[in-house]
């Protein structure tokens, strides 16, 4: 069992939190299993021998101090970085040489810490790009904009509009995203990821730079996605309130090492985590 590997963590308080989350919400089997991942850039060790898993339908948070390797972890999951060591098992298959395209194809979508929207395009177009893997017509047909190509475009447009409605960004549909304030851009980015109808959604600090009210909205969106579509969510966030409230299980990284893994409550009381990350008074 891979869980055994997790147990090697030195802290007795940290348990694999299946019982706790099961108590709260039903989550499915392991969909993504990361085994002994190590990644370094030249001399910088971003990730050292990290293992954890993600169960279907759960909200899995990754937390840790700045530079701990959280974003790098997401990059490994969706194939932007290739780890030097380790194995990724996704839906029971070992992924070898997974590049981002393959990751996207297999249902992994994500948002980015530094917003990576397509600045020159409108909100609607940005969201439509998220549907590209589902588009079938070839470019000649699109050039003629005729028959099936046109019907397809309209069908996808309807999907995109659903997402726009869902995220309540109807009013800015035709605005170029470069002009939007930061918070809305984050929302559009979520919309783009959702448009792909992903199985796993990776969110890198989706609530940075938002005020409480906006965070509440965002949480709502995330929870609804999770509930309604059953999307598995991996979330990086620095707002402990959010993390503790909405996630089922939490992984804690520090200096590229895993220092904690478990339910929010377990993590909250982990002394290592408190020392390295949460600080006093949280």
């Amino acid at each position: 069992m891979t869980e055994e590997a997790h147990m090697q963590m030195n802290e007795p308080e940290v348990h694999f939190g299946a019982d706790a989350s099961a108590a709260r919400r039903a989550t499915g089997p392991v969909i993504l299993d990361l085994k002994n991942i190590s990644l370094s850039f030249g001399g910088v060790k971003a990730l050292t021998d990290i293992s954890f898993d993600v169960r279907q339908h759960e909200i899995r948070a990754i937390i840790g101090p700045n530079g701990a390797g959280k974003s790098s972890m997401l990059n490994v999951i969706n194939g932007v970085y290739r780890p030097q060591q380790g194995q990724i098992v996704y839906r029971g298959e070992i992924r070898k040489n997974m590049d981002c395209y393959a990751a996207a194809k297999s249902g992994i979508a994500r948002t980015f810490q530094n917003i990576a929207l397509f600045k020159g395009m409108t909100v609607l177009d940005n969201i439509m790009t998220g549907r590209n893997l589902k588009m079938k017509s070839n470019f000649l047909m699109q050039a003629l904009y005729w028959g099936p190509a046109r019907r397809e475009e309209i069908a996808h447009r309807i999907k995109a509009e659903e997402i726009i409605d869902f995220l309540e960004i109807q009013a800015i549909r035709k605005t170029p995203v470069g002009r939007l304030p930061y918070g809305l851009q984050k929302r559009v980015e979520l919309g783009r990821a959702l448009a792909a109808e992903p199985e796993i959604l990776l969110l890198d600090e989706p609530m940075a730079g938002m005020n409480v009210e906006e965070k509440q909205d965002m949480c709502r969106f995330i929870l609804d996605v999770n509930d309604q579509f059953g999307t598995t969510i991996v979330l990086i966030e620095h707002d402990m309130g959010v993390v503790m409230d909405i996630s089922d299980r939490v992984v804690v990284l520090d200096y590229g090492k895993k220092i904690g893994d478990g339910t929010p409550d377990e993590v909250r009381s982990n002394q290592d985590v408190i020392n390295a990350y949460l600080g006093v008074g949280c």
Binding site: N66, S71, N114, R179, P181, V212, D217, G279
Partner: protein, 280 residues
Amino acid sequence: MMTAPASTAATPAAAPYLSVNNVEVIYDHVILVLKGVSLQVPQGKIVALLGANGAGKSTTLKTISTLLRGERGDVTKGEVQFKGERIDQLTPNELVKRGLSQVMEGRHCFGHLTIEENLLTGAYTLNDSRAELKESLEKVYRYFPRLKERRNSQAGYTSGGEQQMCAIGRALMARPSMILLDEPSMGIAPQIVEEIFGIVKDLNTKENVSFLLAEQNTSIALRYADFGYILENGRVVMEGAAEELACNEDVKEFYLGVSGAGRKSFRDMKFYRRRKRWLA
């Protein structure tokens, strides 16, 4: 030594150190963003600028630091004064020399320069000796030990939080007497956020540096600030002492996320709540 140059003769808080008077800003000749914003920062105080996304906080700060021009924004009305002098026609360089520094939203580190070089560019306007530079550097490293570890990495390859620290550290290097901070806590781990605000308080009390900070993390901002303004849709809709604001019911509900019965779990927000607006 990080003494603020002009702050020794601290005048009473009454005379505004920085004042923004009825400023109107238009982007791209057509997009009206600030619709007559006025605010004051007294010397030696911390003033928080709060507001939802797109309210115009960053625009206000960029207006003050005259960085607006580079973004095709125009100040069509109003004026900005710093230390009793109109500054809207000055260049950012002259502002920094006068002791007004800005930490921009979204980090803006120099990607190809190392962290240390980034910090050193912050001291560009000072004609510091090598020893003085070293001392300033050490001070920043003391505030942000993480930066010291990564000092020789190119900033473009550091993590988001590290870049944010770098941006703040870079502004400190100029030893300003007034700092405009745009969302300093964004993407920063909680204990570092506390530390950053600690640093702000520290600089404020020990070295009499004034702050104008745009922040989304309202609770912490109001905890450290003396005074606050709330911006909505390009207008100031509420202002007051920080404690007052923190107790205001509306602010509590919409900016602090606490209502009546105290803080609610994010999980339990069952309904999309329509935002109440002071000005609809």
